[in-house]
């Protein structure tokens, strides 16, 4: 299964590790996110028949997406304290 695997010890930076790529990607992401948020205030991009009042706030989905993601990561990692065990936990018991 791993017959084709070759492990190279020397680590070389690929295109995704270059600072220029990372900065460029981040800049593009920020611009796209800001553009999407700004579009939420343009009437042509607004839902004419929203089901809920919150949908009327131009940046509701942006804020909700940001907060939800941050909450999942920051709060979720504590679950590890409750359910995390050694990697061979079941090997010792079965």
């Amino acid at each position: 299964m791993t017959e084709d695997n070759s492990i190279e010890k020397g680590r070389t930076g690929g295109w995704a590790d270059r600072k220029s790529f990372r900065r460029g990607f981040l800049a593009l992401l920020v611009i796209a996110a800001l553009a999407a948020a700004a579009a939420g205030f343009v009437p042509a991009f607004q839902n004419k028949n929203p089901h809920f009042a919150v949908e009327r706030y131009g940046v509701f989905f942006a804020i909700y997406g940001f907060v939800a993601f941050a909450f999942i990561v920051l709060a979720g990692q504590h679950l590890r304290k409750l359910v995390g065990r050694k990697e061979d936990y079941y090997d010792e018991r079965e």
Binding site: D4, E55, G76, G84
Partner: protein, 584 residues
């Protein structure tokens, strides 16, 4: 009365039977010619597709089981949608594992989809039950595949749970027959006219719920699927849960309990996936989460939400398989699916990385990709019903999908820290299967109309435009700002590092305390038996000696054997009658 001819022609026209015959013939090919198996399997998959297409919509194979009308083959719009995507997935799986040479796994790779196909095409509950059990038995060979002790134990646990689902279905179908006088597989519902829970509905719902991996019944997925080999996991990921979705959509549309169940299904896996180190297990949690969205759609039960649920199932099979295939390719080349041992593979596996990104964008429902085409119908159903908290929960879960399937899978496999591994690109057949899945994911996203036309109620989608400007902007806001949160957490180093660990889930209950109780019960039984034997063995042996003396070859009652036998039998019958009379 069904004649052998009727039965044969009903079986011969069934695409599921065609697939099953292909699987069996493939398994009969001697190992020296094992290279012929997969081409043969592909031919039979094409033949099943051709048969499905030439038959068209309709009901075929009407038979009688013990005087009850049975319908072995019902191709309605719902069944056809699942049949089409099951056949596509079966073909892609065959191609992906092209270089596998394993008789049992090759058999399971086609027999298991055959059983799932038979299940979605079943028009009566008995036929459904038969295919339901074949699916359980055929699929376990994929779990057993690698052959290690851990996989055999996981396979046995998996089989036990799947058979339990079958037993519940059997009980449910008997109760349905008692209530309705029919074994037809249609809407069953959980409650009767007075609003009370029906036992029949409850049993069938539990049977379907086990296979759909409802919360607390879900952990067989994470326990068994990752144990299969690089190709087996992908085959497993497609069929069982989607057969359950198809069955739920047929039997329980508009069951409000499913909305709550679905919401929990979409939410809890997000947190388990976040802390999980094994990327195959992350994708298994993703299956739970994705099926949750479908279950919510079925729970609302409107034409649009049912379309959304089954349409989303169709797309999900393509892009979830694609993610499994990409991780499977990494496993094939590096021998591990652990996030702590992967990373930086984009350098030498750029095509696999690109295909994985398409899968990630699709499952996250970015505009232009498959998930976006139907997910709006599901979240929209909560909007239509003005269920604010359900709607918010689904949006929250969408951010969670982005986290574990959209970002974590490609990030930790191909980017993140450099593992130093420089494996070759995936083999051509894997690239072909991934490329086809990626192309389909984009095609469904860009041009969803053919998928809408396949749905059970296409008229409900006549005015639906997923690319309405507001919908695109809302979705982009949600997703792009969630990605921004990820970037911010990485920059400030608050994104948790992966940790090599085992995370307890509901399987712990039967793997540790359950196993302990079973061990204790076995020891207690042995002890009681030993004690009883010590106490009574002397008296028992003396009694047997007495019986032997009277009835044995030298005994008085053996001089004429019929008399001796009759005397013994009469004594036994009288003894039993005496006990019964005493008890009664």
């Amino acid at each position: 009365m069904t004649s052998a001819n009727d039965l044969f022609s009903a079986l011969a026209m069934n695409p599921a039977v065609i697939l099953f015959v292909g699987a069996t013939l493939g398994a009969l090919i001697p190992n020296g010619y094992a290279a012929l198996r997969r081409p043969l399997m592909l031919v039979f998959t094409a033949a099943a597709g051709l048969k499905l297409s030439t038959l068209g919509l309709g009901e075929y194979g009407r038979l009688a089981f013990f005087g009850e009308p049975a319908l072995m083959l019902r191709i309605d719009r719902m069944a056809r949608l699942f049949a089409v995507v099951f056949l596509i997935a079966a073909a892609l799986n065959i191609v992906y594992g092209w270089r596998l040479r394993d008789r049992l796994q090759d058999f399971a790779t086609l027999a298991y989809p055959a059983a799932a196909l038979g299940g979605v095409l079943a028009g009566d509950l008995v036929t459904l039950f038969v295919w339901w059990e074949i699916a359980a038995i055929a699929s376990v060979f994929l779990v057993f595949g690698p052959g290690a002790r851990a996989t055999v134990l996981a396979g046995m646990r998996y089989l036990t749970i799947q058979v339990l689902s079958g037993v519940l279905l059997l009980a449910g179908l008997v109760l349905v027959f008692r209530e309705t006088g029919s074994i037809a597989f249609g809407e069953i519902g959980l409650r009767d006219g007075a609003g009370a829970v029906k036992l029949s509905g409850l049993f069938v719902l539990l049977a379907f719920g086990i296979k759909a991996a409802f919360p607390l019944l879900h952990n067989w997925v994470q326990d068994a699927y990752p144990k299969a080999n690089f190709a087996g996991t992908i085959v497993l990921s497609v069929f069982t849960t989607k057969l359950a979705v198809a069955s739920l959509a047929r039997a329980f549309p508009g069951t409000p309990e499913l909305i709550g169940i679905g919401v929990v299904m979409t939410l809890f896996p997000i947190f388990f996936a976040l802390i999980e180190n094994d990327l195959k297990k992350v994708l298994c949690y993703s299956i739970n989460n994705q099926v949750g969205f479908m279950v919510i759609g079925i729970g609302y039960g409107t034409a649009a939400s049912i379309n959304g649920a089954v349409g989303y199932a169709f797309s999900n099979i393509i892009f979830e398989s694609l993610l499994f295939m990409a991780v499977g390719a990494a496993v094939y080349r590096t021998g591990t699916s652990k996030a702590t041992e992967l990373g930086g593979l984009y350098r030498t596996m750029p095509l696999t990385m690109a295909f994985c990104l398409v899968g990630a964008l699709s499952i996250s429902a970015f505009p232009g990709f498959a998930g976006f085409a139907t997910k709006g119908l599901l979240i929209g159903a909560a909007g239509e019903a003005h269920d604010l908290f359900i709607w918010l929960a689904m949006l929250f879960a969408s951010a969670g999908v982005l986290e574990h399937a959209g970002i974590k899978i490609p990030y930790f496999t191909f980017f993140a820290h450099d593992s130093g591994k420089r494996p070759k690109e995936a083999p051509p057949e894997m690239l072909l299967a991934m490329g086809a899945s990626a192309a389909l994911s984009i095609a469904i996203g860009v041009y969803p109309e053919p998928l809408y036309a396949l749905t059970p109620y296409p008229e409900a989608l006549a005015d639906y435009d997923p690319y309405a400007p507001y919908h695109v902007v809302e979705q982009l806001q949600l997703l792009l700002w969630a990605v921004l949160a990820f970037a911010a957490l990485i920059l400030v180093k608050w994104y948790p590092a992966e940790v090599a660990s085992t995370n307890l889930d509901t399987d712990w209950l039967y793997r540790v305390p359950g196993r302990g109780i079973l061990g204790w019960a076995a020891a207690a039984t042995r002890a009681v038996w030993g004690l009883a034997w010590r106490l009574f063995s002397g008296r028992f042996l003396a009694a047997m000696e007495r019986v032997y003396a009277v009835h044995g070859p030298e005994g008085a009652l053996a001089r004429s054997w019929p008399t001796g036998y009759m005397a013994l039998a009469t004594a036994l019958v009288l003894g039993v009658a005496l006990i019964l009379a005493f008890v009664a």
